[in-house]
Amino acid sequence: MPGRTRPIDKLAAAAAKCTKEGSVYGKCIMADYNNVHKDKCITEFLKLKECYLTAYKKR
């Protein structure tokens, strides 16, 4: 649809601004990806999400 940004495009644009936090989080999961449990990397994820939310609101 013209003139309308799809939510996934907004999400992708905001996520692209947080590659540094994203790679920290990715490395945390990758360090032991055979044993992942809930909230294993919660601190790293919260940093990533905070960055993402700021980037999302700035638009």
């Binding site: 999400l11 996520a15 989080y25 990715g26 999400k49």
Partner: protein, 359 residues
């Protein structure tokens, strides 16, 4: 109280929509065996209709289907024969038809591939997708007819009516693959080939694993986001069970690089290849999971230049309908020549082309 629901736009269940007379088939499943329902065919139909409704977006993701259809057509040309009646089962947007109008990569001067084909019937259950390219110039270049199937799992054609059946990237959404393959075998003429290609094995394993890890970490559990797929070793058994002979099964990997995981998901959606597993979690994926999945995808599988690879594993299958005229293996014990002598003879001569015991 009237209940106007979205149901009006969804076609009625396949079984009810076929008149009883047309529903008589030659290939039936063994009585008593329940049909495994894995994919929702209604939902798949809806996804394809929606995707094709936006023709520009849909055309922009033709790269995969065009490439695969082109590879399948090359295999058809390997058979030195003219095929008067050909069926393209699960045609999507007639990608095979379009690829047939182009010359072969091996012989660019030999004219379009469609010289070897009399008439192509493109059958597909999604009408919008099937007729998406009906106005384009390639339609005039070959003898092409489009047919909308009421359901993708029952073929309304008479037995012994096609000289070849092709199928490109649609068999992986079929619930009852043994039955469909048996029906294909029935509608083929004796000594006619079936060429199929489907996604299988490790297709999209990068997306699957990163979403699984993301859900493990964020939600503490795993939901289904990619289809269960057939493996290479299953396909041989399936074809044999359906009654095909002289089987050929081989695998090809296509790796596509995407800028990010969202681009991959958007392209899959525009192809109409989004998740349609019956047991899927309804509703969109949570944003937390998407965000985490994208980061894990990048860390676990990402290329050095920052792009993300996505693997599409293609399983090509060729099977022939049996016929008394076909070449058969000789009977046991009729060999007049010892392979042992031949192999030992070549070894002494240093692996020469013809052995010492040549006829």
């Amino acid at each position: 109280m009237n209940t106007y629901t979205i149901r009006a736009f969804i076609p009625p269940l396949p079984r009810r929509s076929i008149p009883l007379r047309a529903a008589r088939r030659y290939a039936v499943q063994t009585p008593g065996a329940p049909t495994m329902e894995i994919f929702s065919s209604q939902h798949k139909w809806l996804q394809k209709e929606r995707a094709a409704a936006n023709a520009d977006a849909s055309r922009s993701v033709d790269y995969l289907r065009d490439e695969v259809a082109s590879r399948l057509c090359e295999r058809l040309l390997d058979i030195n024969r003219h095929f008067p009646q050909v069926l393209d089962l699960g045609a999507n947007a007639c990608h095979i038809g379009r690829m047939l109008t182009q010359p072969s990569a091996d012989q660019p001067d030999a004219g379009p591939r469609s010289n070897r084909i009399g008439h192509l019937l493109a059958a597909e259950s999604s009408e919008t997708l099937l007729y998406r390219d009906a106005d384009l110039p390639f339609n005039a270049a070959l003898n092409l007819t489009r047919a909308v199937l009421p359901t993708s799992e029952t073929l309304p054609y008479a037995p012994n009516s096609f000289d070849a059946v092709l199928s490109s990237l649609s068999l992986h959404w079929i619930n009852d693959l043994p039955s469909v393959l048996a029906q294909i075998n029935a509608i083929l003429k004796p000594d006619a080939p079936f060429f199929g290609v489907m996604l299988g094995g490790d297709t999209l394993f990068e997306l699957r694993t990163s979403l699984q890890l993301a859900e493990q970490d964020r939600r503490g559990g795993v939901a289904t986001h990619t289809s269960p797929l057939a493996d290479v070793r299953d396909v041989g058994g399936l074809l044999q069970r359906a009654g095909f002979t002289l089987l050929t099964v081989d695998v090809d990997d296509i790796v596509v690089d995407y800028p990010d995981a969202f681009a991959l998901m958007k392209d899959l959606q525009a192809m109409g290849e989004a998740n349609a597993v019956l047991g899927r979690e309804k509703g969109p994926i949570q944003r937390d999971v998407l965000l985490a999945g994208e980061s894990i995808y990048r860390a676990l599988h990402g290329n050095e230049d920052g792009s993300l690879p996505a693997t599409f594993r293609l399983i090509f299958m060729i099977g022939w309908k049996p016929s008394p005229k076909q070449a058969k293996p000789l009977e046991r014990g009729t060999g007049m020549f010892s392979i042992k002598d031949y192999l030992e003879g070549t070894k002494k001569e240093g692996g020469g082309g013809e052995g010492s015991g040549g006829r």
